[in-house]
């Protein structure tokens, strides 16, 4: 519980309706999509930049931890208030300020849901490329804090590639603005790279200018199956090596395919050892040419079945199959853990083999999914958290998977972030000097360490 005086200061700014501190309410802000929970002392709902600034001034004065939150969909515990204090929730600061497709940008408040940005752009035949699986729920503030990615980021790039400008409130309450509405802008440091992906440890985004792009003229979608997982993975490197960058190349292994087929009955090939969902887009003629090349490459790698979506409905069905993978696995056990180690594309076949070897060793079930085109792996392990012995095995297996990825020149996280989940593994991919350097930057910007404390920095 916060001191009554501090509480009153917060309420003076927000009013009673936007300040929560009863246990029934706090209990709902103790979690996100990660497995750890911690109760905050209060939850605050600012609606303007000025309010955020005032709130942070108070938090700074009394050294109260501040954890930002959008929709609470973080997979690494980034929005969990592990050191208590206040949760700054942006769900009510959710206005789209300007849509300007002529100048190719959109200006939004942090609480705007990713999918609502897409909806606002659709009438203009534009879109905002980053597409995390949580896009129907997750907010742009959270997307920026986590530098979110998604399947189509293979071709289009991740969140930081689309942030043209930002307004950020620092721990002190200072309001800083950088970047602009211009696609080209080399005025000053490119600070968006510092804040984007900082997981709420550097400052609080209160407004963002995002770059948007026209919808492609044509989209082609292909489902290919193989009788060998190595060939599946090798097709990925061959396609990219041939100079084609598809929108997405999603890999699923046999276990995943069968689990989907068990529940959805979509007519997937149950005997296939691996499959690729490949999508390309662009000008119609270019798509045609690229499609032929893709088919040639998968044939060379022994594809046994190639199916192209002939309509939007067929295309949607293929993507539904892919998207249902997580849910299908989630039903296999009371809990499910998924990580997102990432390796250079050429190492994808090796990484998959190692994931399977490691989980086999511990007697765990694993489904291998990957945004294979950018080496972003999603091993999913269904397990029961209450079963202590099994849970320890899961932890050990992931620890070894991280180690293996590091040895292949990979990294801990491609798109979920570090948060609470992977903080202890940072030394696998960063040396001491580098970690210290991040800490030094953190101390300059947030000297009292009130912003999202207890996380990776």
């Amino acid at each position: 519980m916060l001191d009554i005086q501090i509480k009153n200061q917060f309420i003076n700014i927000l009013g009673k309706d936007r300040y929560l501190d009863r246990i029934e309410e706090l209990a709902c802000y103790a979690y996100d999509a990660f497995v750890v929970e911690a109760l905050p002392d209060a939850v605050l709902f600012p609606e303007t930049t000025a309010e955020v600034s005032e709130l942070l001034k108070i938090a700074s004065r009394y050294k109260i931890p501040v954890t930002g939150r959008g929709a609470g969909t973080s997979l690494c515990g980034a929005s969990i208030p592990i050191r208590q204090g206040v949760v700054l929730c942006f769900s009510k600061m959710d206005k789209i300020i300007e849509v300007n497709t002529r100048d190719r940008y959109i200006i939004v408040q942090p609480g705007v849901v990713n999918a609502d940005i897409q909806k606002a752009l659709l009438p203009f035949r534009f879109f905002y490329p980053p597409d995390p699986a949580s896009m129907n729920t997750s907010t742009i503030g959270g997307n920026i804090a986590m530098n979110a990615g998604g399947p189509r980021c293979l071709k289009y790039g991740v969140t930081v590639d689309y942030v043209l400008g930002m307004e950020v409130v620092l721990a002190s309450g200072d309001i800083v603005r950088f970047g602009s509405r211009n696609v080209k802008d080399v005025t000053g440091y490119r600070l968006s790279s510092l804040f984007c992906g900082s997981e709420g440890t550097m400052g609080i985004t209160t407004e963002a200018i995002l770059k948007v792009v026209p919808l492609p003229e044509a989209t082609r979608t292909l489902m290919v199956t193989f009788d060998n997982l190595d060939n599946t993975a090798k097709s990925v490197t061959d396609i990219i090596g041939s100079g084609i960058i598809p929108v997405a190349m999603e890999l699923m292994d046999k276990l995943t395919l069968n689990a989907i087929e068990d529940s959805a009955n979509l007519g997937l090939d149950r005997n296939a050892q691996g499959s690729l969902l490949i999508e390309i887009d662009g000008v119609k003629e270019a798509c045609e040419k690229e499609m032929n090349k893709v088919i040639e490459k998968v044939r060379q790698n022994g594809a046994i079945h190639i199916q192209e979506a002939r309509s939007d409905i067929e295309r949607e069905n293929l993507w539904t199959a892919r998207r249902s993978a997580y849910g299908v696995f989630a039903k296999l056990a009371p809990d499910i853990v998924t990580e997102d180690v990432t390796v250079p594309v050429s190492q994808v076949p090796l990484m998959i083999r190692q994931i399977i070897e490691i989980t086999d060793k511990y007697g765990l079930k694993v489904g291998v999914l990957a945004h294979a085109g950018d080496g972003n792996m999603h091993p999913m392990i269904p397990a029961d958290k209450e079963d202590k012995a099994e849970w320890e095995k899961v932890k050990s297996a992931f620890s070894e998977i991280f180690q293996a990825a590091a040895e292949l020149g990979g990294t801990l996280s491609g798109e979920h972030g570090i948060g609470l989940a992977k903080a202890q593994f940072l030394p696998l991919v960063m040396n001491k000097d580098s970690i210290d350097f991040m800490k030094k930057i953190k101390r300059v910007i947030d000297p009292d360490l009130i912003l999202n404390p207890g996380k990776f920095v």
């Binding site: 929560l20 029934e24 709902c28 996100d32 849901v113 949580s134 849910g327 989630a330 039903k331 499910i336």
Partner: protein, 411 residues
């Protein structure tokens, strides 16, 4: 002992964007994910019962959209229903809800109550009726009660106009029985037109959904058994409903509830397999409908998809398909056709401030397409939508059956 659910909520948050209440209030405790968290804490004795807890759990339309979209396959619907019962037991119910439960628990009380209310409706001066509100809805905007309950106004067995092609049992629900007889008469005419013998079992009663939502599961069980007995009939090819909430109860809740009863769920399952909503039934027999060639004027129509039509029968797109097939209809889709209207059984009465925001948005978007008829196949949605329109509004809300019946050829 706490029965351990097979699945844990993975807290992915995909239920947030489909929850009509969360979308308005934007606070996690109002979301399905938040409610599950609280239920778990309460069941594990780490959270005590309180008025606030009961309020949070009740602030839900029971629309089922969370269940329909949950990747982990969690049955929020049943979880919420059980929690509502626990809260009603521990915290008690308001007088208004208690009275409702009392009425719905026995058919004769319901009949008596509606008779009284009808007399009341006649005697309340217009001036007063304009100022009294139930939730957001002025008393004068409530539908007039049927002069005779629909089931009393009809024979128990009705024969078709042409050669009989089958037999249906008609589960009318309370709304058609006491409020919206126009829906019932239209449905009977359509069924006769197609060639069905109709049985309207006299002993049927409230489907129990309102009782279950308000934690009165003992009273609900009595109704359920009464209905199972009334609907057990080997002659029937189908059991038709004009209210998708009643349909949801017969289809999903009855087998689930009866599974734990001595009587067992054999009959309930048999009934469930025969239950079909009116729109799906008409779609299956569309080729047998003969339309009046003299009805040539096109009427512009928009549709509101009730949550239970969408989540329990998936026939919301069917409704749109049907409307598009009708030659005399110019179908205009509203941008939020699949959004909840905020009716939700008694939700509009219990949480008028939340409900108002939802219904206002629905009305704005329906008006934007400039339709003259607003079609919806749920009586609560109909009451809520029409109740929030002005009485002399050009936009009128009716059941799709009434629309279809109006264009049929006389036989």
């Amino acid at each position: 002992m706490i029965p351990k659910p097979l699945q844990n909520c993975g807290k992915c948050g995909l239920c947030l964007n489909v929850c009509p209440v969360y979308k308005i209030l934007k606070q996690e405790q109002t979301s399905p994910r938040g409610k599950l968290q609280l239920i778990k804490a309460y069941d594990h004795n780490t959270l005590a019962s309180s008025d606030l807890l009961k309020d949070i759990v009740s602030k839900c339309l029971m629309c089922g959209s969370c269940t329909a979209s949950c990747p982990s396959g969690i049955d929020h619907y049943s979880e919420f229903m059980e929690m509502r019962k626990k809260m009603a037991d521990v915290q008690g119910e308001t007088l208004a809800i208690k009275s409702l439960i009392y009425l719905l628990g026995r058919e004769y009380r319901l009949k008596f109550g509606s008779g009284l209310a009808r007399t009341g409706q006649k005697f309340v001066p217009d001036k007063v009726a304009k100022t009294i509100k139930l939730g957001n809805i002025p008393l004068k905007n409530f539908p007039k009660l049927n002069s005779t309950p629909f089931r009393n106004a009809n024979d128990e067995i009705i024969l078709p106009y042409k050669k009989q092609i089958g037999t249906v049992l008609y589960f009318t629900g309370c709304a058609t029985n006491y409020l919206y007889e126009d829906t019932g008469f239209a449905f009977i005419e359509i069924l006769k037109h197609i060639g069905y013998k109709i049985i309207i079992p006299k002993d049927q009663t409230c489907c129990s959904i309102p009782l279950l939502f308000h934690g009165a599961s003992d009273k609900a069980l009595k109704n359920i058994i009464t209905n199972i007995n009334a609907l057990t009939n080997n002659e029937a090819d189908a059991i038709v409903v004009d209210c998708s909430t009643c349909g949801e109860a017969l289809k999903n809740e009855y087998p689930r509830i009866m599974e734990n009863q001595e009587q067992g769920s054999v009959e309930a399952i048999k009934i469930a397999s025969k239950v079909i909503d009116s729109l799906s039934f008409i779609d299956q027999h569309f080729d047998l409908l003969e339309f009046d060639p003299n009805v040539t004027d096109k009427i512009s129509v928009t549709y509101h998809a009730p949550c239970h039509t969408r989540n329990s029968f998936g026939s919301n797109t069917l409704a749109e398909k049907l409307l598009s097939k009708l030659a005399f209809v110019n179908y205009k889709q509203a941008s939020d056709v699949n959004e909840c209207c905020g009716g939700g059984g008694t939700f509009f009465y219990e949480y008028p401030e939340v409900s108002k925001k939802m219904v206002d948005k629905k009305i704005k978007n329906a008006k934007a397409v400039q339709a003259s008829l607003w079609i919806t196949d749920c009586p609560v949605c109909r009451m809520n939508l029409s109740g929030n329109l002005d009485l002399d509004d050009k936009l009128k809300v009716i059941h799709p059956l009434t629309l279809i019946h109006s264009a049929l050829k006389q036989i």
